[in-house]
């Protein structure tokens, strides 16, 4: 039997092409996970040693916290308006006006503030981190850094990941307050629900555990968005196309990572 000939024809089949395509994607997937883990490990090493560029951390905190705040608050506020405008009038009609505040606050504290803030930060900051580092990579700026004996992980990753981890809880708390206020105003306008009735029930369904889990989520989301975005940018190759691919990858991977984190938190704390 002429195995070489069989192999030659097999290579032209759709089965072979699909299988090699899947394997190539799987390879890229595993490689990306590996790179993120490797970069995360090295970042932790610098942080544990206290080898941190604090000036850069402050700059990145400003970028994470201040520049993203208007969009983050708008998204969380609007989500709250959308939910409250649909839920409040229906609940009031069904005689549940005493629970509108409870439901809205629980929803915002447990999910909306952290997850929607996460999505806003990914689209604003994650994409910009990835494209910035990818551009530095494809224009040899990172190579220049290495030749100058400066570790790009210390200079680029550590401040961004620290800033993401520190700023995200603050953003989530502010977004939560804005979300609850937006919900109260919307319930008042759409269902004529008094502010007193809203806030009297608002505290009933929110426990310290909810606030704690929300802050933990914020920490995890902030660190993950910064790490994933920096890592995908750092692995960029080629020119402008490579920067585009890295940015898309950062956004998609960060979104997926946040949803996975959210699922893990839900299963661990509320299952």
């Amino acid at each position: 039997m002429d195995y070489k000939l069989i192999y030659k024809y097999f290579k032209q089949t759709a089965t072979y092409k699909i299988a090699t395509g899947i394997l190539a994607d799987l390879y890229v997937f595993i490689e990306t996970i590996g790179n993120i883990a490797y970069n995360g490990f090295h970042t932790c090493k610098f942080i544990i040693k206290g080898d941190i560029n604090f000036k850069e951390v402050i700059e990145q905190c400003y970028r994470f916290g201040i520049t993203s705040l208007p969009i983050t608050l708008s998204i969380v506020g609007m989500t709250s308006v959308i939910v409250a405008s649909q839920v409040a009038s229906e609940m009031v009609k069904q005689g549940g006006s005493n629970f509108v505040g409870l439901l809205m606050t629980m929803l915002i504290v447990r999910e909306v503030s952290a997850v929607m803030s996460g999505f806003a930060i990914i689209s604003m900051i994650g994409s910009s981190l990835a494209s910035e580092i990818a551009t530095m990579k494809v224009t040899s700026q990172i190579d220049a850094m290495k030749v100058l004996n400066i570790d790009p992980i210390r200079y680029l990753f550590v401040p961004r990941i620290l800033a993401g981890t520190m700023m995200m809880p603050i953003i989530v708390v502010i977004a939560g307050i804005v979300g609850v206020l937006a919900g109260a105003v919307t319930a008042h306008l759409s269902a004529d629900l008094g502010y007193r009735a809203f806030f009297d029930s608002a505290w009933l369904g929110v426990y310290m555990k909810d606030l704690g889990v929300s802050l933990l989520k914020a920490l995890a989301f902030g660190a993950t968005i910064a790490l994933v975005s920096c890592s995908t940018g750092y692995e960029a190759t080629g020119g402008a196309k490579g920067v585009g691919i890295a940015t898309t990858k950062a956004v998609v991977w960060s979104f997926v990572a946040i949803v996975i984190w959210d699922m893990v938190f839900a299963m661990v704390f509320f299952f």
Binding site: E132, D143, A144, L148, I150
Partner: protein, 240 residues
């Protein structure tokens, strides 16, 4: 102090891009690595400064001394101004971070900028500079740590003839002022003849000529003849 490369080999995906290359550059000497595009010239520089790992061979560099590299497209940090670009290593490198005061750093930056003829542009950003000026700022950044080896990757590529001449003069001036061993990767004749003390020509990852600029211009071998006359006819074939 000098830099020596012995039997260097590097493969990418089973293709040998550097094949048993050996050479030595002494202090205060400029070696030009010439050859057509894709002949492996820049790969040698990346191997020397360990941006990529060699497969086999030896690269002997001065122990504990810095190697500086001037990149083809300058590779200045575009979010930092000129002063911060030049002072980057002084601010960020572990062994230099606390060595100099801000006043000292300011003085060093001004001194290096003066050396490359760009006094007083400390606060400008790379995007505000011409290609030639960016290149000279990258020279200043490269020499800020007083390196004993300076690598130039196509320093005059994409520059007009007058800017090229200026850059070539600075390569010679830096060699004289720092007494560093320098390697210039180029395929421009003016850069070769104006800066190099000796030359190696690469083709297909191998050295096909070693000599001085004068020997290159003599066109004694089929390789030098083809290179100098920029002819399509000859032993060196360019991949279509």
């Amino acid at each position: 102090m000098s830099i020596e490369v012995k039997n260097l080999v590097k493969q990418f995906n089973d293709k040998t891009v550097i094949n048993d290359v050996s050479f030595k550059v002494n202090d205060g000497e400029v070696l030009a690595i010439v050859g057509f595009s894709g002949s492996g010239k820049s790969t040698i520089l990346k191997l020397i400064c360990e941006l990529i790992k060699k497969d086999s061979g030896e690269i002997i560099t001065p122990e504990g001394e810095d190697i500086a590299m001037v990149f083809q497209y300058s590779a200045l940090f575009d979010s930092l101004n000129v002063a911060d670009n030049i002072a980057f290593a002084l601010h960020e490198r572990k062994d230099l971070r606390n060595k100099y005061s801000e006043k000292d750093i300011k003085h060093i930056v001004a001194e290096k900028l003066e050396l490359v003829g760009l006094k007083g542009i400390e606060r400008k950003f790379p995007a505000e500079l011409s290609g030639g000026m960016q290149k000279r700022v990258s020279f200043a950044r490269a020499i800020v740590t007083e390196p004993k080896t300076i690598l130039y990757d196509e320093p005059t590529a994409g520059l007009d003839p007058i800017s090229s001449t200026l850059i070539e003069d600075y390569i010679v001036r830096l060699k004289e002022e720092t007494n560093a061993a320098s390697i210039v990767v180029t395929h421009q004749m003016s850069t070769i003849t104006r800066t190099a003390d000796k030359i190696i020509m690469l083709y297909d990852g191998k050295i096909v000529f070693t000599g001085t600029p004068a020997e290159l211009l003599k066109q004694d071998t089929p390789y030098t003849k083809q290179f100098v006359t920029a002819s399509l006819e000859g032993p060196m074939k360019i991949a279509a």
